[in-house]
């Protein structure tokens, strides 16, 4: 039997594949989140996904990730229009949803049957090296296919929106439909990715590789390619770090992504030109 990091390959492979897929998905959507200033909404969604998964755990569901998807999408459906219509400060949105989602998540975990609490609850919070099955890898693959299809079909509308919201609207792009579409995809990506990094750290993989990519290039099309590469790099370094040093995988990926971001900021050609 082939051993990798002292574990059988068939156990390591799903986590490795899951980490790579999550790296691509999160950083690709992260590019849109960063450029469209949706960070606060996405942050709220990731915590809602955590609360949903915790409820699934409390209800002893076979796969609590479906409730995570439901909670995350519902948060996008409610907060997106709310922030849009009431011109609500996004900090207010986070301030309202973040503590509520965390409180609900912890209540659900507290009320979960004791058998499910241990590793299940921890993996929802911090991710799990061995918590990923081939079925979950398939779900990630399907979501990646949907995201890539969406980008291929509506790429020009998304690009117009990433340039400038008002300019996009002024050139006849139905910006509300496009931005809700992006928000909906972000909600799904956040929820299905939390199995790897955990609900609390998923956002590191969404924001940091995308922000790092913005430090290197001026062409948005190149950013959309570079960000997933940096996302996969963060995931792989985090994966190896987790396996070799016996660290939680979510934290390892978050630390790798943060290191990559700091390095990119320090070495950014944009920074040199400005300075």
């Amino acid at each position: 039997m082939t051993l990798v990091f002292g574990l059988p390959w068939h156990i390591v492979f799903p986590t490795l594949a899951g980490s790579v897929l999550v790296g691509i998905l999160c950083s690709l959507m992260g590019t849109m989140v960063v450029r469209m200033n949706l960070s606060s909404l996405g942050f709220a969604m990731s915590h809602a996904a955590f609360a949903g998964a915790a409820l699934g755990l409390m209800l002893s569901m076979a796969d609590p990730i479906w409730l995570a998807v439901l909670f995350s999408v519902a948060t996008a459906a409610v907060l997106g229009p709310l922030a849009d219509l009431s011109r609500m400060n996004t900090d207010t949105v986070v301030g309202a949803v973040f503590p509520l989602a965390m409180a609900l998540g912890l209540i659900f975990i507290n009320k979960a049957p004791s058998a499910g609490v241990g590793s299940g609850a921890l993996s929802l919070l911090w991710g799990s090296v061995l918590g990923i099955t081939m079925q979950q890898v398939m779900i990630l693959l399907i979501v990646l296919a949907v995201v890539l299809l969406g980008v291929a079909a509506f790429g020009k509308e998304v690009l117009a929106l990433l340039l400038d919201r008002k300019l996009a609207r002024a050139s006849g792009i139905p910006i509300r439909r496009v931005s809700y579409g992006v928000l909906f995809l972000v909600a799904i990506v956040v929820a299905v990715s939390m199995r790897v990094t955990g609900g609390l750290l998923i956002y590191a993989l969404m924001i940091l590789p995308a922000s790092a990519a913005f430090q290197w290039v001026y062409d948005i099309k190149k950013v959309l390619v570079l960000a997933p590469i940096l996302g996969v790099a963060s995931s792989l370094v985090g994966f190896v770090l987790s396996m070799t040093a016996d660290l939680p995988i979510g934290s390892s990926i978050a630390v790798s992504a943060a290191a990559l971001f700091l390095l990119s900021t320090a070495l950014s050609p944009k920074r040199r030109r400005i300075g």
Binding site: A153, L163, D164, K166, L167, R169, S171, F214, Y218, V223
Partner: protein, 252 residues
């Protein structure tokens, strides 16, 4: 009564702009920014919109292209109601917002900024083809920045950024231009340069134009007519030729 002035062109309707008893207000504003606006702009006309700060000049432009909905009255452009066909119309109106300048770190190249102006026209699920790409090139050439096509937009000077935004109108093949202070915050040389390009684009596209300005100079001199707004109402609507006292007041 609307009248088609060229065969086959849904955008060749006279008058190009028609506002009837239009009121408009920004969200949360207790008082309407525009009140009882009646305005008709003929095809090929350039109308300069002047008036003090806060008079409603920018609001007028935003009502014409539907970025701000009228709270009363009706706005028509190219014979279509703005409140019903806003996206279709906006895809065919060249609009330059006053406050829009790109940050130095903006991750878009000049060519892509100009190309994006066509995306609303191209429609869902279609990609820009050879014809659209040729139009972007021609637009960049028309405003004299073809050599800057691969440069980041945020690295351009204010005058060059204005030219890139004007190139968007050319790429759209827009027959109506709504320009909000196109020469604001530019140095004197760039002002003249941008004003010249506006003139050239109008001729090239055979366009009608509504140009907001609070300065004298070529933007006003080139106009056929001026409309003065004060506190949301039109107080003067005259041809430039018959408005020597007003122009003198503005130091032209």
């Amino acid at each position: 009564m609307d009248q088609d002035i060229a065969a086959g062109g849904a955008v060749c309707v006279d008058p190009v702009i028609r506002l009837e008893a239009v009121d408009a207000a920004y969200e949360g504003e207790p008082v309407a920014t525009l009140r009882g606006i009646e305005l008709s702009v003929a095809a090929g006309e350039r109308v300069a919109v002047i008036g003090p700060n806060g008079a409603g000049k920018t609001t007028l432009l935003e009502v014409v292209n539907g970025l701000l909905p009228a709270t009363a009255g009706t706005a028509w452009v190219f014979g279509r109601r703005v409140d019903r066909e806003g996206n279709w119309l906006r895809a065919r109106i060249g609009y330059m917002a006053q406050e829009l300048f790109f940050e130095p770190s903006t991750p878009f190249l000049v060519g892509d900024v100009v190309a994006a102006a066509q995306y609303g026209q191209i429609g869902w699920l279609r990609r820009p083809g050879r014809e659209e790409k040729a139009r972007v090139r021609a637009a960049l050439e028309a405003v004299g920045i073809l050599d800057l096509a691969r440069r980041p937009i945020g690295r351009l000077s204010g005058g060059q950024q204005r030219k890139a935004l004007l190139a968007r109108a050319v790429a759209q093949d827009a027959h109506l231009l709504l320009l909000d202070e196109p020469t604001a915050n530019l140095d004197p040389e760039a002002k003249l340069d941008v004003a010249r390009i506006v003139r050239e684009i109008e001729a090239r596209l055979d366009a009608t134009a509504l140009v907001v300005t609070h300065e004298g100079g070529p933007l006003l001199q080139d106009a056929d007519r001026f409309v003065r707004l004060e506190a949301g109402r039109i107080t003067h609507d005259e041809s430039i030729a018959g408005a020597s006292s007003m122009l003198a007041m503005m130091g032209v």
